[in-house]
Amino acid sequence: MKHYLRGLHLALYETLRQGFKPRITQGMRSVEQHEERYRASFALTHNEHGEQACIACMQCSNVCPSHVIEVTAGPKEASPATGKKRGWAADYTLNLQACILCEMCVQVCPTDAIVMVKVQEKPGFSREDLVLTMDKLYANAKARPLAWANGSILREMQDPKREVKP
């Protein structure tokens, strides 16, 4: 013999009970509501001497799985602050349209030049809005909170010889 109505009152009780619980939907999260390690968009930083940190070594461009980073290297010149000869990036473009936010470019950067920021790009009305040029990347570093990770932190964290966690 088949039954049709057993147990259904429990479901009615449960839905009524859930109605008195706190709401879970909300608007878009602000940066403060995200976790410390949250990563969204990109920025280029300056080093401690105020020079551009990127030395145009092309590691980020090579490691990018979707090939969105294009770096043009400038001529090698001596740094005004330290006097050592180093590379300079003449142009740096990151195309967010195909970026998959995998953080590999941040990990391989030897000078911690490219990092991620915690605020996403807003949707734009043209494709150029999502292409981060060098100027936009440097502006991001000033205008937006930087994400937790940079190349040194990630590589130090993965070091097999590391004894205790930071």
Partner: protein, 395 residues
């Protein structure tokens, strides 16, 4: 079930003209745009009234050519690609890939990294099964109905899980937190306590789910629907909860331990019902088991390094020599395997051939065996109980 449908259940290629219908047969295309096909999937149904005589699945609507694409990528670049196959459990897909390359190279993964992987995999299993539960009830109760209430309750807990993953990896969905030889991110401070609090909440939530669906309507819709014998399941290559619901006591976590599963006791949930209800039973039991395993793992989480090889600094840092092998781990939907032939371009930095074994594609093959004799209403129940992810089916 009427025995005239039995030949179609035994062999989906049984010719249709041998079926003696009382009236004309009707051909119904379910999908590719249908709310309950879990993605873009087309099912051609031949109907006698509302009873299905023959069901033919068509797939490929989500084919992205991943296997061709990875032949042009180096091993270090591939992890973020891999978590996009099965977009419901990205963590275990990354792990399947990492384990494959580590096995090929013979890299030893540090103990802490193995524990972190196991913890992440088990949390991911809960998240994946929660999504299964919500879509399963959505299929039965509709988007405007009791299924939607269940989905919201499931997603409340799923959001908690995403918060936990975000705290570790910085990303809510596509994590890229595994690398060849270990983990890219260590656990942050206080994360273990947060997981414990989540587990307590989750255990209470299971009772809430049960109160919603432990009733006669759920039983009537699932019991005796989509019966898949153990022989058929094995022959089709169905693994994971679907296989265990057919009464086969087999789980890679216990029988071929990977990660840190050899250091904890895994109790395998098996159901003998072979039907949609058995698959529900197995998944619910697995979620509770995952909570138990997670508590054990968090208790004995060791300290130490999290990566067995040097951190990736160059794109071609990992090179796999010529050779071939098959490795597999147990994901939330079954065995995620990788057939890897090394020695590709760039002196082995790129794979020569990398075939992903998707558990969902094998599950989809069962559709044409299970459906004949059932009604149109049962299609969504059978499909939902098999828990396919079309991104993984098509790749």
């Amino acid at each position: 079930m009427d025995p005239i449908f039995q030949p179609f259940r035994d062999d989906p290629h049984y010719p249709l003209d041998r079926y003696e219908a009382a009236a004309d047969l009707m051909l119904l295309n379910m999908g590719p745009q249908h709310p309950s096909t879990h993605g873009v999937f087309r099912l051609k149904l031949v109907l006698d009234g509302e009873i299905i005589v023959k069901a033919v699945p068509y797939m490929g609507y989500l084919h992205r050519g991943v296997e061709k694409m990875v032949e042009g990528l180096t091993f270090a670049q591939m992890t973020p690609i891999f978590n996009k196959h099965d977009y419901v459990s990205p963590m275990t897909n990354e792990q399947a890939y990492a384990v494959a390359v580590e096995t090929a190279l013979g890299i030893e993964v540090p103990r802490r990294a193995r524990y972190i992987r196991t913890i992440l995999a088990e949390i991911q299993r809960i998240a994946s099964h929660l999504l299964w539960l919500s879509t399963f009830t959505l299929d039965m109760g509709g988007v405007i109905g009791g299924g939607a209430a269940m989905m919201m309750y499931n997603f409340r807990e799923r959001e908690d899980i995403f918060d936990l993953f975000e705290a570790v990896t910085g990303s809510r969905f596509h994590y890229n937190t595994h690398c060849i030889g270990g983990q890219r991110h260590d656990l942050p401070e206080g994360w273990v306590q947060r997981v414990r609090a989540f587990l307590d909440r989750q255990e209470r939530a299971f009772d809430e789910y049960l109160r919603l669906i432990r009733n006669d309507i759920f039983d009537l819709r699932t019991k005796g629907v989509g019966v898949m014998s153990a022989d058929l399941a094995l022959g089709l290559g169905i693994t994971g909860p679907n296989l265990r619901a057919s009464g086969v006591d087999f789980d890679m976590r216990r029988d071929a331990p990977f990660h840190a599963y050899d250091e904890v006791e895994v109790r395998v949930a098996v159901a003998q019902g072979c039907d949609a209800y058995a698959r529900y039973e197995v998944r619910m039991a697995e979620m509770r088991e995952s909570v138990r395993i997670l508590r054990l793992l968090l208790d004995q989480l060791p300290e130490g390094p999290i990566c067995g090889s040097k951190p990736v600094k160059m794109a071609n840092a990992v090179r796999v020599p010529d050779g071939r092998g098959y490795t597999a781990i147990e994901g939330p939907r079954g065995e995620i395997g990788t057939w890897l032939i090394g020695g590709g371009e760039d002196k082995g930095a790129k794979p020569f051939r990398l075939k992903i074994r998707p558990p969902s594609l094998h599950a989809m093959a069962a559709m044409s065996y299970l459906l004949p004799g059932h009604t149109v209403s049962d299609v969504v129940v059978v499909l939902g109980s098999l828990d396919p992810i079309m991104g993984e089916v098509d790749r």
